[in-house]
């Protein structure tokens, strides 16, 4: 099961999947040109929600449709440094 991690630090707000940079999925939709962010509702968190769901679900259209509620329920509450696996994302989606 994939592990997603994010951390704010001197090198930026970095998000990885299994240790590799998480693609922003700009080809699906550009919410933010400034990269990922979290712990609030806005363009950066919206891009992160799309990227996480797209990678996890493997379905860009479904990821785009769920990105707004997923951002509000999950991404807007992530800590400075956070860690989620696929099971946690599934559980969060089921609770939406």
């Amino acid at each position: 099961m994939k592990v997603y991690e994010g951390e704010r630090g001197l090198s930026g707000a970095v998000v990885t999947v299994d240790g590799e940079p998480l693609p922003p999925k700009s080809e699906v939709k550009v919410f933010s040109k400034m990269g990922f962010e979290w712990t609030y509702v806005g363009p950066g968190p919206r891009q992160l929600a799309l990227a996480l769901l797209s990678d996890h679900l493997g379905d860009d259209a479904k990821a785009l449709a769920l990105s707004e509620p997923f951002m509000t329920a999950v991404v807007a509450h992530l800590d400075n440094a956070w860690r989620m696996d696929g099971a946690e994302i599934d559980a969060a989606l089921a609770a939406l």
Binding site: E5, R8, G9, A13, M34, T39, D79, A81, M84
Partner: protein, 253 residues
């Protein structure tokens, strides 16, 4: 209590501070520049009218709202052209200082407490540009009072912010307004609310005005709240999925 992550960040941040950096010189420069601007303006104000003196409260309120806006919309949001401010604040200041350990250890840490002096110069240039307009349409006195008030508010900001991050509060906790902003700002360093609440650094007027304070009180109660925690909102969010091992994270749903 400091988490391992915060400790690691502090070590990494301190390692990249230039060896020649001197925190006392940094602070002295800020108050020298601000003090010189204030002194010059006051020296050149002659017999101000009551109407001209009204510029002082107007600048205080304007600076308060500006401080709130800059903090909420620039320092905590990645914006094109302003990434340096966001990185310095959200990605550095808020990793160095948390609500669990919000205090600096040595004067070297002033590097991440105080703004660089050029920020003060930029602020004074903006104030001077506005003052020039005021001098054209009104009076030189009003213009000088505007710049003097702006310089005073800038130094007020830096001093109050330092009061929030200094460890020893034996005196500070008894000083009205200072004790309020200290609790207010340390609460702001909680990741769960740092992007949305407690954006004032001097007097939480704009936070009260725009409903972004973490306390639910009237204006006077908010301004003079001190260390009181009885009025802290019960509906504040909590962080989830934390990778900060000592933090009591909300379990994933």
């Amino acid at each position: 209590m400091m988490t391992a992550r915060q400790e690691a960040f502090r070590t990494a941040y301190r390692a990249q501070i230039a060896a020649l950096y001197d925190g006392i010189v940094h602070v002295a420069l800020i108050f020298l520049i601000g003090g010189a601007a204030l002194w010059y303006c006051v020296q050149n104000i002659h017999a101000p009218t009551w109407l001209e003196l009204l510029v002082i409260p107007i600048v205080v309120i304007f600076a308060n709202v500006f401080e709130w806006f800059l903090h909420a919309q620039v320092m905590h949001r990645p914006r094109p052209g302003f990434m340096g401010i966001y990185k310095r604040h959200t990605l550095a200041h808020h990793q160095f200082f948390t609500e669990h350990e919000p205090f600096h250890d040595t004067t070297k840490d002033y590097r991440i407490v105080f703004f660089p002096p050029y920020a003060e110069i930029a602020f004074l240039v903006m104030a001077s540009a506005m003052a020039y307009g005021v001098s054209l349409v009104w009076s030189t006195n009003a213009a000088l009072i505007l710049v003097a008030s702006a310089a005073g508010m800038y130094m007020n900001y830096e001093f109050f912010h330092w009061c929030c991050h200094v460890r020893d509060d034996r005196i500070i906790k008894h000083i009205p307004f200072v004790n309020t902003i200290r609790r207010h700002h340390i609460a702001h360093h909680d990741t769960a609310i740092m992007m949305s609440r407690n954006m004032n650094l001097t007097y939480p007027f704009a936070d009260w005005l725009f409903g972004t304070s973490d306390v639910q009180r009237g204006l006077l109660g908010t301004l003079l709240n001190g260390y009181e925690t009885r009025f802290v909102r019960k509906d504040l969010p909590k962080v989830r999925s934390s990778a900060d091992v000592t933090r009591p994270a909300v379990p994933a749903e």
